[in-house]
Amino acid sequence: MKIPSFDSLKVGEEIPALITPPVTRHTLALYCGASGDHNPIHVDIDFAKSSGLDDVIAHGMLSTGYLARMITNWVPQSTLRSWKNRFTAMTHIGDIVTCTGKITEKFEEGGEKLVRLELQTNTPQAQTIIAEAVVALE
């Protein structure tokens, strides 16, 4: 991985996007087991209907996991200082998740050179996560 230098980055610049295959029931079954989030709303259609939904919905943290992959494809994980995720809409079966991010600020704090990113995930219907991350670069 070629780590971008702090000086080479510009506010407004986009980082390489990540686009996933469509979310399937199999995706959610694997994520349910692997993550430990066994909430049946993600894997049991009967339960989802009893909650007033038409079908199961994806775990919000699955899309967060995809955002993390976008970040760590771009810079090593060790550079990640903080990260805030707000879930704004549901992700449904068949949705492709598009992760994007751009640099919104460059600043120095605590002796580190920091880059603030605005990140989001979108499905074809809606923005599903709005997020902000701070990474330290040299």
Binding site: S35, L62, G65, T72, F87
Partner: protein, 147 residues
Amino acid sequence: MIDKKHIGYEFLPVTVPVEEGRLKFLAKALGETGDIYTNPDAAKAAGLPGLLAPPTFPFMLEIDALDLVAFMSLLGESLEKLLHGEENFKYFAPIYAGDKITVCKKITDIIDKKEGTLQFVISENTFTNQAGEIVAETRTNYVFHHK
């Protein structure tokens, strides 16, 4: 409605071992193919003590430490009403396979919205490794819809 008496409630600390197989399974579930997340030999060759846990892993430790159903039962709520509102992370050190992470979870706020039809339960969580080093802190917003 969730009783505000739960504000300030601290769960007993729980220590969770970070298993290599779990991290491999999680990488598969996320479509992560990077070798420091999937191949223990490659992680060692890269100078790491074991597979690297991905950035979302503290949330999984949080769930491991406190089963969602047990959490709902404490609040007197049911899973049908629960949605995930926010998940915020601060990172201080990496988590690797083989670590033992102690999770401390505290309910720090319960906020009514829309005349009580919506409630936010905020928890703050601290993750400490076997060396006594705080590796991460998270803040979770659980959203409950009362109809």
